[in-house]
């Protein structure tokens, strides 16, 4: 790759905005997702954007894309090893379920209702629940 030589030298101050600013890498990706009861659900493995298509020209004055969902599941593997899972295999945590973003991403719903927690539920119902004592608080 050629070393870039056309980097702009003078930078303007960014326009002021009407809300909190989040940088995806710094504030969203790979953060722990916690449900409304404080139970960890998963991590933010990727982010789905709505309102832009890859490699299609963007018309002047088009509305900016928004985050439609946080993604988890097989998408983690492809982020590490490359490739891309089919859209049908993406596990989505819709953005409208997100209630806050700080050092964790908080949801306003219970994890029980989410497709992101199906593995956890499967392990719980098929294995852990069947071992004596699994349902009780430790003594």
């Amino acid at each position: 790759m050629n070393r870039p030589r056309n980097t702009p030298t003078s930078l303007k101050s960014p326009p002021s905005v009407g809300g909190p600013v989040l940088d995806a890498q710094l504030h969203l990706l790979d953060r722990q997702v916690i449900d409304v009861d404080g139970l960890p659900v998963t991590t933010v493995d990727d982010i789905e954007l709505e309102g832009v298509e890859a490699d299609l020209p963007i018309s002047l004055g088009a509305r900016a894309p928004v985050i439609s969902a946080l993604l988890t599941g097989p998408v983690l593997g492809t982020r590490i090893f490359g490739g891309r899972p089919p859209s049908s295999r993406l596990i989505r945590l819709p953005w409208h379920d997100v209630s806050a973003v700080d050092v964790t991403v908080r949801l306003g719903v219970r994890s029980e209702s989410l497709s992101a927690s199906w593995v956890e539920r499967w392990v719980r119902d098929k294995i852990i629940r069947r071992i004596p004592g699994g349902k009780h608080d430790p003594d």
């Binding site: 659900v41 050092v103 349902k135 608080d137």
Partner: protein
């Protein structure tokens, strides 16, 4: 009064919980071969683990984030996974070594072959993790581990030539019988034994388990700053006993019975019994901590629900992964692999992997986004940078020295 009792209990469990199979074996081996001429490394390691545990405990208390959540978030999935792979592998090796240690200790007590004790030990570890509350688990193992003080008593009873021991410790030199490469190899092993990464996974996750808040930081600092150095003294006593009895007799440490030989010689059956209880408690406690750590690291990387403060059904994958780890450990030991040898390798690899966990914690402990006003002070950062250099050097030198010396043969 209650608060004072809490502090005392915290310090005592930190002392008793400091020593594990890695410290036991490495210190005894080093004492039997180098006298006290490597004991300065224990000092370096203890200061290092105090610094590291303090930082990760503070991150956990202030932000509520345990070590591997931080590693994943800062390093991203790719570097994070490489880190998880290395840390998890070494941790599993340590689980195996600790369970082997439990079995060897039980063999010494009962004369029943240790292979038969391995499934029993592993099952007991699982049962405690499954059913016993975190606080009780930590306190019982830590307090019983205090029996190891008998190594210190034994050292006095042996009436060694204190001047000679002090001379070895104060003016360290490579003994004529050993090469410089072997000396430095064991220096790294001793460093790795004192500063094993699992201690930090466990410490920071434990802070979340016990729900530490900012106001608990003072007590945690006292526990660490008083408990770990005193625990380090236990390590020194183990090395000292080996230096006084095993070194002159030319006995090389290859089994647990040789490690306790000086105690038996000095204090007879009662002392031996105490030493065995101490070793059993120390290895059992460490087996719990390492098994939990393997669950912690996996769960925190992938964002699963975790923690003993939850019922097992509320942290299903966390518990399942620990069961699998214990089964793997049993499988490895069932092949007849020597637990002492596994231990010796595990402490060296611990030193190799140390920068992987140390650096992200150092960075996050300075990040106001996580820490608010509780970021590292300048003094802590200065010390942390000195240790960053030491840890990097030890990590880079470990594998070459392992190869050159044939694992210290």
């Amino acid at each position: 009064m209650k608060r004072l009792l809490g502090v005392a209990l915290g310090i005592l469990t930190a002392i008793g919980g400091f020593v594990d199979i890695g410290d036991l074996v490495t210190n005894a081996v080093v004492g039997s071969r180098f006298g006290l001429s490597l004991i300065w490394v224990v000092g370096v390691g203890v200061v290092g683990i105090c610094l590291f545990a303090n930082m990760s405990g503070r991150v956990a208390a202030v932000s509520g984030r345990a070590t591997f959540e931080v590693i994943r978030e800062r390093l991203g999935p790719r570097a994070g996974l490489a880190n998880l792979g290395a840390s998890f592998f070494i941790n599993l090796m340590t689980v195996t070594a600790e369970i082997g240690g439990i079995a060897l200790a039980l063999q010494l007590v009962t004369s029943i072959h240790h292979l038969l004790w391995i499934p029993v030990g592993a099952f007991a570890v699982w049962l405690v993790i499954w059913r016993v509350r975190f606080k009780i688990m930590e306190n019982v193992a830590g307090l019983l581990g205090l029996c190891l003080v008998v190594f210190g008593v034994a050292l006095f009873l042996l009436q060694p030539d204190w001047g000679q021991l002090a001379g070895q410790a104060m003016a360290p030199a490579v003994p004529q019988t050993e090469s410089a490469a072997v000396y430095w190899f064991y220096a790294i092993a001793l460093f790795g034994a004192a500063m094993t990464p699992y201690e930090v996974f466990f410490f920071s996750s434990g802070a979340v388990e016990e729900g530490w808040k900012v106001k608990d930081l003072v007590q945690s600092r006292i526990n660490v700053l008083a408990g770990f150095p005193l625990g380090g003294l236990l390590s020194v006593a183990i090395a000292g006993c080996a230096a006084v009895v095993l070194l002159p007799a030319g006995i090389e440490v290859t089994s647990l019975s040789q490690i306790v030989l000086p105690v038996a010689e000095a204090g007879g059956k009662l002392a031996l019994a105490l030493a065995l209880i101490g070793i059993l408690a120390a290895t059992f406690g460490a087996a719990l901590e390492t098994t939990l750590s393997s669950g912690y690291t996996l769960a925190q990387f992938f964002g699963w629900s975790w923690g003993k403060f939850r019922r097992p059904v509320r942290a299903a994958r966390f518990h399942l992964s620990m069961i699998i780890c214990l089964v793997v450990a049993i499988g490895v030991l069932a092949t007849g692999a020597d637990p002492i040898l596994i231990t010796e390798y595990s402490v060296v690899f611990s030193a190799v992997a140390l920068p992987l966990t140390y650096l992200p914690i150092l960075i996050v402990a300075n990040d106001p986004q996580y820490m608010g006003k509780h970021v590292n002070s300048r003094a802590v950062n200065l010390a942390a940078n000195v240790y960053l250099v030491i840890i990097l050097v030890a990590s880079l030198a470990a594998i070459p020295l392992l190869i050159i010396t044939g694992a210290g043969a």
